[in-house]
């Protein structure tokens, strides 16, 4: 209080924001957005849509890092925007916000996630059990190596950040990518699952885990601190063992 409207707007710090408009072809548009405390990149995008450009398209749902729908390219780096604070991503108040890389752009900041999830299906990312709901619940001891491997990889929210960060996805469009392979790894280690061999065949085929360069961009970028690189190395070893044993 005690500060007039004129003074406050004169002192108000502003962010210089460039936002992608269009689909594959388009342009960056420029906006000035007031700087706030604890402001997230998603807050910035929402401000633009509510106050400056109602036609701007973007996607989010939970705002708390659970749904995986808000990922975008922020200053050249793939991030979940709802939990990326502005002060973590820019030092000079400039932001460039673009759609996630390696996916078709539907419009503005919205990408078509179908190729990403189609690859989960190709990697046999669906659990296949042998029991029914009337059987007793399986007991999986928490300290077995398999269960630990699952624990380390299971919290994926399907945000696509790792997929956008992986160079091999850009070079080989058929490459399954870190998230689908990470999912396959959790199932290969699920002692209740019965389609292990089929899954190993799917991930050893061309464009599967053997194409990974282990350069760890995915692990570096994953907001859930998952290390898909480690899971993919595990898949490579499992595939090699199965190939030597004549099972593949």
């Amino acid at each position: 209080m005690g500060v007039t409207a004129g003074e406050s707007s004169a002192q108000e710090a502003m962010l210089d924001v460039r936002v992608w408009h269009g689909a594959e072809h388009g342009e960056f548009r420029h906006y000035q957005v007031p700087r706030r405390d604890s402001q997230t990149v998603l807050d910035v995008v929402t401000y633009i849509q509510r106050h400056l450009d109602p036609a701007l398209s973007y996607r989010f749902a939970c705002r708390v890092g659970m749904c995986g729908s808000c990922a975008m390219t922020v200053n050249g780096v793939a991030r979940w925007t709802c939990r990326s604070h502005v002060d973590q991503v820019t030092a000079d108040g400039r932001l460039e916000i673009a759609p996630l890389a390696h996916l078709p752009v539907v419009r503005d900041l919205v990408t078509d996630m179908r190729p990403f999830f189609d690859k989960w299906a190709r990697a046999k990312g669906r659990f296949q059990g042998a029991t029914t709901r009337s059987d007793p619940v399986a007991r999986v001891p928490p300290d077995t190596p398999e269960r630990r491997a699952v624990d380390a990889a299971i919290e994926c929210i399907g945000c696509g950040v790792c997929y956008a960060a992986c160079d091999v996805v850009g070079w080989r469009p058929e490459y399954l990518g870190p998230a689908a392979l990470n999912r396959a790894w959790t199932l290969v280690n699920d002692v209740r699952d019965v389609s292990r061999l089929e899954r190993l065949r799917a991930v050893a085929a061309e464009g599967g885990c053997l194409s990974c360069h282990s350069h760890t961009s995915c692990s570096e970028r994953c907001p859930k601190k998952i290390a898909p690189t480690a899971g993919i190395s595990g898949l490579k070893r499992a595939c090699a063992r199965a190939a030597l044993g004549g099972e593949l």
Binding site: R201, A204, A205, S211, C239, A240, A242, L248
Partner: protein, 113 residues
């Protein structure tokens, strides 16, 4: 053989050939550095290599590892950077393997015969 098994075995072949190459290269470089202390002539080299069976075996192994490793690496690079895939690419890489093997063995033969 399923394509998945073939690809997994080729991947293993590339890993193992890389391990052999790393070892061979280390020995190769160490021997060169040791041997050239105080200069070396072609005649001196040939004097040591002619009829040297262990040397022939060592470099023979080196050549085998190169002939396996290089075409597999090139295959991966081609698949990433060009649109050339499939059967014709596989045959070309097989031809490269034979070529490297032939040229390599010829070179080994030239110094040990």
């Amino acid at each position: 053989m399923t394509p998945a098994r073939r690809d997994a075995l080729l991947w293993l072949a590339q890993r193992w050939s890389a391990a052999v190459l790393a070892l061979c290269l280390a020995v190769h470089l160490a021997v060169i550095i040791y041997a050239v202390r105080g200069g070396l002539t072609a005649a001196e080299i040939l004097g040591r290599t002619r009829g040297n069976a262990p040397l022939a075996v060592f470099y023979g192994l080196f050549v085998v590892a190169v002939s396996i490793h290089a075409p597999l690496g090139l295959r991966a690079i081609l698949s990433e950077w060009t649109l050339w895939r499939g059967r014709s690419q596989a045959w070309a890489m097989a031809a490269l393997a034979v070529l490297l093997f032939g040229l390599g063995l010829r070179a080994v033969w030239a110094v040990v015969q």
